[in-house]
């Protein structure tokens, strides 16, 4: 018999059941870790640290989860907050936003021999964090604009704009590989 997320949450709240919580972690660890890996531009070690903090916060604040949104959406919200706090702490590192000039430049790609080598992961890393978060949540994880707006704490219109801008930038960066993909 498999329990729903709501069943497991109820068990955690009523009995502090660590087994129920570990089942919740097992179910949701992959999308949360993948989201944070994208947000940290592929720093898997940091992403896992942030993911661990995310689940520890979820454990402590589970009683604030009202059930209005999906549990995964609620978790993404905590994860994004953890990312934002970490990026504030790490401002001195290479986490700064990529400026438009760098995004538009074709030279870095040429220096890597071929446009094809600039894969989607690299292209995503060149988006600013708002665009990257919106694209990853909606286009990769299948959240609706409304759900992504809850996670990122902004209006749905801003999510739509960031997705449009982000995808436009991805298309520009991936133009050659993208054409190959379409013709395949």
């Amino acid at each position: 018999m498999s329990f729903t997320d709501a069943d497991l949450i109820a068990r955690v709240l009523s009995h502090e059941d660590q087994n129920a919580f570990s089942e919740l972690v097992r179910r949701h660890q992959s999308p949360v870790r993948a989201f944070l890996a994208r947000m940290t531009r592929g720093d898997a070690h940091l992403a896992d640290d942030l993911a661990q903090e995310t689940f520890l916060k979820a454990w402590q604040k589970l009683y604030t989860y009202r059930g209005g949104a999906r549990f995964s959406t609620w978790l993404f919200g905590i994860a994004y907050n953890e990312f934002r706090m970490a990026s504030r702490r790490r401002k001195e590192l290479a986490w700064g936003e990529v400026d438009e000039a760098m995004m538009a430049s074709e030279k870095p790609a040429a220096a890597r021999d071929s446009h094809l080598r600039l894969d989607l992961t690299e292209a995503l890393n060149l988006l600013n964090s708002n665009e990257r978060a919106a694209v990853v949540l909606c286009c990769q994880n299948g959240l609706s604009h409304k759900e992504a707006a809850q996670v990122l704490d902004c209006p749905p219109g801003t999510i739509k704009t960031n997705i449009l801008r982000g995808k436009e930038k991805l298309r520009r960066r991936l133009s050659l590989a993208y054409k190959n993909y379409e013709s395949a």
């Binding site: 972690v25 097992r26 661990q52 520890l56 909606c138 994880n141 299948g142 298309r171």
Partner: protein, 108 residues
């Protein structure tokens, strides 16, 4: 999760990149690090208890019977003999109301 219905190849490409990440001990590490969960009700109950005790003390100790009647001339002259008892009473009442509201709206 339900991926949005779209014919955009870029969306398909993005979804293809979304690989499952194996647990590899992640869940065990999280569970090993779990602290005792704070009891959600404890802090608001403590705050409400403090408000209740504060209310009883306020009823017993504040100079309810000796409060001077604030007429306009006393207020305009800022007569401390008239104003200070009222400032004291109103401050205590405001603190009690604030404590009650904070306890009732407590989330974390």
């Amino acid at each position: 999760m339900n991926p949005p219905e779209t014919n955009d190849p870029l969306d398909a490409w993005l979804r293809e990149q979304d690989k499952y990440i194996e647990d590899n001990g992640f869940t065990a590490r999280v569970v090993a690090a779990l602290p005792r969960r704070r009891r959600a009700w404890l802090r608001p109950v403590l705050l409400l208890s403090a408000v209740a005790i504060g209310s009883v003390l306020a009823v017993l100790w504040l100079p309810w019977g000796n409060l001077p009647v604030p007429d306009s001339s006393a207020l305009l002259s800022l007569d401390s003999q008239v104003l200070m008892p009222w400032v004291l009473v109103l401050s205590v009442m405001a603190a009690l109301v604030w404590g009650t509201i904070s306890a009732l709206e407590w989330e974390d």
